[in-house]
Symmetry: C2
Subunit: 347 residues, 2 copies
Amino acid sequence: MTTATPTDITPDLSLAGAVTIDDIRAASARLEGVAKRTPVLTSRRLDELIGASVFLKCENLQRVGAFKFRGAYNALSLLDDEARHTGVIAYSSGNHAQGVACAAAQLGVPAVIVMPANAPRVKRQATEGYLERAPAGSEVVEYDPKTQVREEIGAQIADKRGLTIIPPYDHPGVIAGQGTAALELHEEIPDLDELHVCCGGGGLLSGSAIATKATQPGCRVIGVEPEAGDDATKSFQTGVLHEVSNPDTIADGARTPRLGRYTFPMVRTHVDEMLSVSDAELARWALFCMERLRIVVEPTGVLGLAGLARRAGGGRAGRRVGVILTGGNLDLSMIPALRTLAAGSPT
Amino acid sequence: MTTATPTDITPDLSLAGAVTIDDIRAASARLEGVAKRTPVLTSRRLDELIGASVFLKCENLQRVGAFKFRGAYNALSLLDDEARHTGVIAYSSGNHAQGVACAAAQLGVPAVIVMPANAPRVKRQATEGYLERAPAGSEVVEYDPKTQVREEIGAQIADKRGLTIIPPYDHPGVIAGQGTAALELHEEIPDLDELHVCCGGGGLLSGSAIATKATQPGCRVIGVEPEAGDDATKSFQTGVLHEVSNPDTIADGARTPRLGRYTFPMVRTHVDEMLSVSDAELARWALFCMERLRIVVEPTGVLGLAGLARRAGGGRAGRRVGVILTGGNLDLSMIPALRTLAAGSPT
């Protein structure tokens, strides 16, 4: 199923310490009153299905509908005055774009967002909406993901206009910001035995693992990614950085090619386990969230929940399990397709 | 638009005092640790659209997906031992059925639920699921709403089996339970200027108004119902109890024919204002909840929000406005129909 292949990149494992709990706590202070302290939801039916007490940290209810606002706002807050004045650029399949656009509007920083032409409609519209409140010069630049590489387009524009690139995950300020969600969860629900976190480029997973190991060291951290893009699982298991090009998955927020310079060492060092799940499982759990939990979570956003379900059973009774639901920007017209996909999912 | 006509029923206005804040506080104590203390969500985008600070009490995230669990559990808790042992019966278009079924399972009371054949599929399935855990003899009995009157069927079965009827709204124990949601909202968000509450049979609206006037007397209480079933608005405005038969509205939780023996005096006495909204507005706000707030709210559940939007503007800046989102049991296959309906809605 996997198409992940090894790279010849030699990672610098010392970068696993490039973000500390102090960085995450500082980010948390910056985000106070700016980001939402998202609710933690529970469901008896879910507990029965999983056979454990499950606590869902609802980052789908975060500003911009995803945890990405945390990292973007923290990274922009760390810029010096000149960089803030000139502006930033971000390339993203969706939620990072919205996070940067919203943070830019909030902080008064001009922002250029490079988005794929096939980005979900709701994400594109919302990004443009935020940029309307950002300073002049802010705009969405579209690219064709089949023929163009977003990093190259981003670098070209950044170079020409003198903009600071805010990468979607491989950046200490972004990682520290993403770690604040897990920090809040541990504060509100102490003594979790496990925490399940989605993994695309590994920014949220890295931040969550660092926050967890510093505040709740007995809690196992499990990263979950889509089967078609299981590069991080392969990288984690082998210690060799793997990559996958344009993975074919409905988890559009996890179509990243590989872990990064920072996130590979962090995931390899601080995470306890990695696994991958199928699109059918993602579809099933996205529908479960809407129908039984009455919250909208996009397929990428249920990676952690689907991973937990995949691992469920086997003496987990009485365990306390956390899950970060990461994003809620679902194009509702996708629901029939989710239904079809889910029909192929084992229960 | 309205088809509501006056009745010749003479209401007993002294029954406006049949539920007091003490009853609601007692219900709240019973529900502690049983019902969820549902989150209160906010949205900057919504605040901008409305021109006020809006606080959404998310009863769509309550157990069974609706506030109805509160009233049902409270009413069943108030039964004597014999009545509990013999069992209860409820007739409902949906959420009350689930509320009674879930409370019955929780309290070990046998329950018969009389549901219309056209009840939403998700509500029917969920009700049956709860009854599987209730004592033997619990079952769903279906009726045809076009040819049969649910009150008559309910009364027949109740009589034959000696069951206690748990009416969906016109019952002091139910009303006191429903009032606990507003009580929680006022505790968490003090100094609200207005509270918008949906109105079907008036149980939630009565309980909310009593809780509000006792704890936050300066807060205006506004009831909102569907245009096609605006009997309560007409009753409130004229002082003459109006009724409407089988109103044609997507707000399936508010297809009640008239206010009740208790709820008419309570609404007339404790509520400040009543208004009605169109199905197009309900569709538009249900979609807004899913797409922008990332929560699932059924059309009936957004009555309060749609009413607020209808009244919005005109010097409301700086005001603090509460809304109870009442239910989240939406059949997702309805979304295309909501889209079509909403297209006819004024912005």
